[in-house]
Amino acid sequence: MSALRLISNRTSQQAMSNSDYTWEYEYYEYGPVSFEGLKAHKYSIVIGFWVGLAVFVIFMFFVLTLLTKTGAPHQDNAEPSEKRFRMNSFVADFGRPLESERVFSRQIAEESRSLFHFCINEVEHLDKAKQNQKGPGLETNIRFQEVPRSSGMLEEDLSCHTKFNIPNFVNTEQNSSLGEDDLLISEPPIILESKSVAQSSHRILD
């Protein structure tokens, strides 16, 4: 009995070692699997998994797209002065640049950080460089046009410039705390009448 077991173990080990590191070896490693009497197709898990995955991704995409069309509750957790800066670069990079006034205030350069958009990062570098006094080392800048830069970077600056548009919100610091939506808006009446904004934007977007 023990001898039989020993032989079987050795043979199985041989089988397993034969299966070691060969590409053509079939998937016997988990022991013999009977394929008799399958009710469904044998690749049903594979097909079901991939179909489910595709459906999920498409569903996620449609949910996200629908969020752009219908009104969804806004976020009001951050301070208005914070929200003021963050959406410009976010929207600008997430989509085409919005045709609004470009105003680069000093506060933006000093305090804001772009989310995906690295033009603002470069502005920060400019500030850091100013502190570290390594001005010539900088490659790009957005708002300090007077800083000398290499000509090769000029096109990139311009492309950054066009991509990154900050609406004129500088004047609305005090006013933006009012109203339901605290996101930056240049004119106070728009902030206060958030519902009408939503409706009009709804109309425009549709």
Partner: protein, 319 residues
């Protein structure tokens, strides 16, 4: 991990009882069995090499350009390193297999076993590193949006490096632990739960950011001077879907494989799913190729660094 051998994560714990069946019954499998789907070695090597090269380029570009020494890029570098590890693992495994076939390495040697264990833990390290790097990138972007004014103070360079050190230490420890204790269900279940949990968390972060962008875009669009671009938000939806869809499609098949290997290795349906393991491995390497494109190469600064590197190389060659 090579599936043909009883590798750690894929081994059925009750395997000692199975060998007795093989020899005694003379069991022969059905003609309609699910045979292992084989990916040609050339394809494997090409995909793996492309992944390694691309991520290496990202790393070199970030290291060389001082402007890119920012927390955001460090997290992208961390993602590039974990992708590189995954591709490197597959390449080494391929080489290992070829060497075994050619007879330079013994098959059941002690050294080879240890080498294989080390490679398994490298692979798990790559998976965990990918997940946590993506999480770090999403959290970094989230802080940038919602705490924009305090971002400087929250995410300093030093803190980013500390966070990365913690992440990689945790991943290294977990990968070694998982590789050592892969027999227990207690290892497999947390490992597979971690994956959808992280995915869901990242999805929530991005959806929150996306909602804010959308509502802000609406506000901007409502201005009398602005023209409305509905493509703006479409593009955001597409970007988000690509981020998460790529990660899901490349890693989920493998995670499901681990689950099935642990819980139903003898079920014919599960065995058929497990026969496409090499395709799943190739998908993971494709993820290593796609990730730099959707994270690193979106930065104009990084792209310009690449161009400079290539032009410098070309001018050197012209000499």
């Amino acid at each position: 991990m090579s599936t043909e051998r009883p590798s750690n994560l894929l081994k059925h714990p009750g395997q000692t009882s199975i060998p007795s069946l093989e020899n005694i019954s003379g069991f022969s499998l059905n003609v309609t069995d699910c045979t292992q789907v084989v990916v040609p070695e050339e394809v494997f090597f090409t995909v793996a090499a492309a992944g390694i090269l691309e991520n290496l380029l990202v790393l070199i570009a970030v290291i060389r350009n001082k402007n890119l020494h920012l927390p955001m890029y460090f997290f992208i570098c961390s993602l590039a390193i974990s992708d590189m590890l995954g591709s490197l693992y597959k390449t080494l495994e391929n080489i290992f297999i070829i060497l075994c076939k050619m007879g330079y390495l013994t098959r059941r040697g002690d050294f080879e076993k240890k080498l294989d264990d080390a490679m398994d833990s490298m692979f798990i390290l790559s998976l965990l590193g990918s997940i946590f790097s993506l999480l770090a990138i999403a959290a970094d972007r989230y802080i940038t949006i919602f705490y924009a004014l305090r971002y400087h103070n929250i995410m300093t360079l030093r803190r980013a490096l500390v966070i990365l050190a913690i992440i990689w230490t945790f991943c290294a420890g977990s990968s070694i632990a998982i590789a050592l204790f892969s027999y227990e269900a207690a290892t497999v279940i947390p490992f597979t739960i971690l994956f959808p949990l992280m995915m869901f968390f990242i999805l929530c972060l991005y959806v929150h950011m996306f909602l804010l962008a959308r509502s802000h875009a609406k506000k901007i669009a409502s201005l009398p001077t602005s023209t409305v671009h509905q493509r703006t938000n479409m593009k955001g939806a597409i970007t988000l879907t690509i981020f998460l869809g790529v990660f899901l499609c490349c890693w989920a098949p493998f995670v499901l494989h681990i689950l099935l290997a642990r819980f139903c290795p003898h079920n014919p349906y599960c065995a058929c799913y497990m026969s496409i393991f090499h395709v799943n491995g190739t998908l993971i390497m494709c993820n290593a190729i796609i990730d730099p494109m959707i994270f690193a190469f979106r930065s104009p600064e990084l792209r310009s660094t690449f161009k400079k590197m290539f032009f410098c190389a070309r001018s050197n060659w012209n000499w």
